[in-house]
């Protein structure tokens, strides 16, 4: 009990300990704010990627694709872990748009909009056809035309608040899409003729996935049309990938493992039939599938954490100095305590308790201030933009809407624990020195 009483007494009476408290609070405040924003950005990015991909992808990077997908989809649908599947054709294409005299390079994705919306969040990324995904490829101005859905950043501009200037109804526009049809051997299918397949599609809607790389480079086409364009609609039809959604109670690793096993069995059943194409197919979870993009964001988070760790060392120094001062001023207290039989370990525990209190209260103050700041961070940014035209991120350049301000409780716990650990680390040496003090030296008359 005396440890707690003395700790509280030191905290209240020794004004120098306020400084340690202040330093901890300041560091925790900054770390909470920055890590919340960064963690929020990474989390949002992951969620958007998950929604765009689904849970699992069975696919190949080769633009030749792979055959027998219908047989495998049947097997998948028989499995008790699969909720829905969507076959996808992917390739590169040149698109010629009205108003431009040149083509633009894009990635095309051939999908069945209804099936794909069951697996991914595609349906919710649409604007005009959000309520009726089956009509996604039917332009409102003429449903008989073959439509296409364009990545929003290829079609609309963002204003300074990151909002798009949507049209009331889609404007009539023809897009000339060309791509190389490939044979199952990977050669050009139309060698000796025009070499490319070209077809006109009509703009029907935009897709806003929230992923800049996707929204600025993808055009979605009807599945069968994309298959024809890419030369995958031969006698043995091919696709690029199967996107899969698991049933709600299925864990990602378990689900992917089971799909992987199914795929291995499927290849064995097929034997040598087009084995070179089937061997290029991999089974990946959405995290693995989008690893190149997600890892980059996670690394930035790691880098920032490392830099904060370096700066946090200063806080350890402050706690050390404050405790060093308190110990040197309270040698009499230590002497008296030891003279009544308090052990060295108890002395260390006393100062550790004091350090814990500083860490806890400092963290609490930092977290509180951080949360208050985060609550108002978007309003503060709005005000700064209104008066000084300052935005943390230029919304016309970055696909970020609001600054993320939802505090992650796990991150918060890590920050608080780290702050307390830093205080304990800073207090350890002075505590050890206090524990080593000899009663006869500290309580001799000349020292009193």
């Amino acid at each position: 009990m005396y440890k707690i009483i003395l700790s509280v007494r030191y905290l209240l009476k020794r004004r120098i300990s306020y400084l340690a408290f202040l330093a901890v609070a300041l560091c925790v405040f900054i770390v909470v704010v920055v890590m919340t924003v960064i963690t929020g950005l990474v989390r949002d990015f992951k969620v958007k990627n998950h929604k765009w991909v689904g849970d699992c992808v069975v696919g190949t990077e080769s633009l030749v694709g792979f055959p027998y997908y219908e047989d495998f989809i049947t097997k998948l649908e028989e499995s008790d872990i699969i909720d829905s599947v969507s076959a996808v054709v992917k390739s590169y294409a040149l698109v010629k748009n009205r108003g431009l005299q040149e083509s633009l390079g894009v990635e095309i994705m051939g999908i069945d909009p209804v099936k794909h919306s069951k697996v991914t969040g595609f349906g919710k990324t649409l604007y005009h056809r959000r309520g009726d995904v089956s009509e996604a490829f039917k332009p409102a101005y003429d449903p008989n035309l073959v439509g296409c859905v364009v990545g929003i950043d290829k079609w609309l501009m963002r204003d300074t608040n990151g909002r798009y200037s949507y049209e009331v109804s889609p404007s009539e526009a023809a897009l000339l899409v060309s791509c190389f049809p490939l044979t199952s051997k990977g050669a050009l299918a139309k060698a000796g003729t025009g070499l490319v397949n070209t077809k006109t599609f009509y703009y029907s809607d935009t897709s806003h996935s929230g992923l800049a790389a996707v929204d600025s480079s993808f055009i979605y086409l009807p599945f069968e049309e994309a298959q024809l364009l890419c030369g995958m609609a031969g006698p043995v039809k091919r696709i690029s990938a199967i996107h899969i959604k698991f049933k709600p109670d299925v864990k990602l690793e378990k689900g992917c493992g089971k799909v992987s096993t199914l795929w291995k069995r499927f290849i064995e059943e097929k034997g040598e039939e087009q084995a070179e194409l089937l061997d290029t197919v991999t089974v990946q979870s959405w995290k693995e599938y989008r690893r190149a993009f997600i890892a980059a964001m996670e690394k930035e988070q790691t880098l920032l954490t490392i830099m904060f760790a370096f700066v946090g060392v200063t806080t350890v120094f402050i706690v050390f100095v404050v405790f060093y001062m308190i110990v040197s001023h309270k040698s009499k207290d230590v002497g008296i305590l030891k003279s009544i039989g308090v052990s060295r370990l108890d002395i260390i525990e006393l100062f550790s308790c004091f350090a814990f209190l500083i860490g806890l209260l400092g963290s609490a103050a930092g977290v509180l201030a951080g949360r208050l700041f985060l609550l108002k961070i978007n309003k503060i940014e709005d005000l700064l933009f209104e008066h000084f035209e300052f935005q943390l991120w230029d919304r016309t350049m970055y696909a970020i809407s609001d600054i993320p301000n939802a505090v992650d409780s796990k991150v918060l716990v890590v920050i608080i624990v780290t702050a307390i650990a830093a205080c304990l680390a800073g207090a350890f040496l002075p505590s050890w020195q206090a524990a080593k003090l000899e009663v006869v030296e500290t309580l001799q008359v000349s020292q009193l």
């Binding site: 120098i16 400084l19 202040l22 330093a23 300041l26 560091c27 920055v34 080769s62 633009l63 030749v64 390739s91 590169y92 294409a93 040149l94 010629k96 748009n97 009205r98 108003g99 431009l100 005299q101 040149e102 083509s103 390079g105 990635e107 023809a174 000339l176 060309s178 791509c179 190389f180 490939l182 051997k185 990977g186 050669a187 050009l188 070499l195 490319v196 006109t200 190149a292 690394k299 790691t302 880098l303 830099m307 904060f308 700066v311 060392v313 200063t314 806080t315 120094f317 402050i318 100095v321 404050v322 060093y324 001062m325 040197s328 001023h329 300052f390 943390l392 991120w393 230029d394 350049m397």
Partner: protein, 436 residues
């Protein structure tokens, strides 16, 4: 001075404040140098790829040789070159198709240095009449290693001499009908890969196929009598003032366009004539803003160094009350006593910021080696050209920024020493030196 040295020797804890100042200063210097270096390389890469000034009319134009001749006759232009660009699809072999940008350039054979060409060759490429000849960026034909982010140059070399099929398209310049599909023609051509280019700039290496401008003109406008260009890239003479150069170039362009192209005044006026740095300015402004935000965050956290100095100096003042009292009793003024501690603060700031500058310099200069070691030890590749645009981390120290940071560190140290100095000034010898 005597007391400063004495306190420094006797009070080892002062080294903690020096370490804190050094650490904070080094961190800020590294962050500022990396950002500034990145921005400089970003701007410089654009200058190297496109020259100092770019002239881009709203449409393609002919007789560009005459414009180049006129520009090179002016007092501000050292060299000018025409370019034509288009987007395309490149079929490199079995199932390997890439979306690419095609740049038609006037000086393909001499555009890249020996170091940038994977063949190591600097001679003009040999051409035959069977197919067009082009250079491709290294990222077009290969992927960097997942772990090291480095290319396998031996494998890449094997691509030299290979044939690829390039598809692009354009509408004839003289037919700009309302229907976008009517006149637009797809053009497909076989291209021999004459060399592979490694500039170290991700976008250029990943996306670009270089053809000679004449070959691209033949591909895009096969029936055209006159060659056309889309852009003129201009290198200014050394020491030329940019605004004057822009005005002079615009004058040359307006005369040329009116006399030779007979364009409408509206089209002539809407021609963009800008420096490549101006073209990048939006991005540069954003990078600078992010650097400012990051420096502000670390600056605020570094304020704890001020608290640390305050604590240590406060402790010194408390434990050295007798010294202060004796000095005052010998007739030292309040100013002299305050100066002891403020001067000591300056000393701590000076030594700390000097150490921080040295540490910052060492870390910045060796940042690529450090990043390499982090990859080897922790398996974490922090810098990837696909994310940060360049193959190498810019490692030039921003000395202007470093000096400002060092000065701020000294001021912070003085601020930290200020209150302890005031406490020292208020010490009353009669209280401290009395017998009991």
């Amino acid at each position: 001075m005597f007391l400063w040295v004495r306190y420094l020797r006797k009070k080892k804890i002062v080294f903690l404040s020096i370490a804190a100042v050094a650490l904070s200063a080094a961190l800020l210097i590294v962050v500022s140098s990396l950002f500034s270096g990145f921005i400089n390389v970003f701007e410089q890469s654009a200058v190297e790829a496109m020259g100092d000034i770019v002239l881009e009319p709203p449409g393609k134009f002919s007789k560009y040789e005459e414009l180049i001749r006129r520009l090179e006759q002016s007092s501000v232009v050292e060299q000018a070159t025409a370019t034509l660009s288009a987007q395309g699809l490149l079929h490199l072999g079995k199932g390997n198709v890439r979306g690419v940008e095609i740049w038609g350039v006037s000086n393909l054979d001499t555009r890249f240095s020996r170091l940038e060409r994977v063949s190591g060759d600097e001679h003009p490429v040999s051409r035959n009449e069977q197919s067009a000849c082009g250079f491709v960026g290294i990222g077009v034909v290969a992927e960097p290693d997942e772990e090291t982010d480095e290319y396998d140059f031996e494998t890449v070399k094997k691509m030299i001499g290979q044939q690829a099929v390039l598809t692009t398209g354009a509408a004839p310049e003289d037919k700009q009908e309302k229907d976008p599909t009517s006149d637009f023609k797809r053009r497909t051509v076989r291209v021999a890969i004459a060399d592979v280019v490694f500039t170290g700039v991700y976008h250029l290496d990943k996306k670009i196929v270089y053809l000679s401008i004449e070959e691209l003109q033949k591909v895009l406008y096969p029936g055209g009598n006159e060659g056309v260009a889309g852009q003129i890239q201009i290198k200014l003479r050394a020491g030329t003032e940019t605004d004057a150069a822009l005005a002079q170039i615009r004058g040359v362009w307006e005369t040329f366009a009116a006399e030779h192209l007979r364009w409408e005044p509206y089209l002539i006026r809407t021609t963009a004539i800008v420096t490549t740095k101006q073209m990048q300015s939006r991005y540069v402004a954003e990078f600078r803003k992010q650097m400012g935000v990051l420096l502000l965050i670390f600056g605020v956290v570094s304020l704890s160094a001020v608290l640390l100095i305050f604590c240590i100096f406060y402790m010194i003042v408390e434990t050295r009350q007798k010294d202060i009292a004796i000095i005052k009793s010998c007739g030292a003024t309040n100013g002299s006593v305050a100066l002891i501690f403020i001067g000591f603060g300056v000393c701590v700031g000076l030594v700390g910021s000097a150490a921080g500058m040295i540490l910052g310099d060492i870390v910045t200069r060796n940042i690529n080696t450090i990043e390499g070691w982090i990859r080897i030890i922790f398996g974490l590749k922090l810098w990837k050209s696909s994310v940060y645009m360049f193959s190498k981390i810019p490692n030039e120290v921003n000395w202007d920024g470093a000096l400002i940071i060092a000065l701020s560190a000294i001021i912070a140290a003085v601020v930290g020493a200020l209150i302890p100095a005031i406490i020292a000034v208020r010490t009353r010898p009669v209280n401290v030196l009395r017998y009991e």
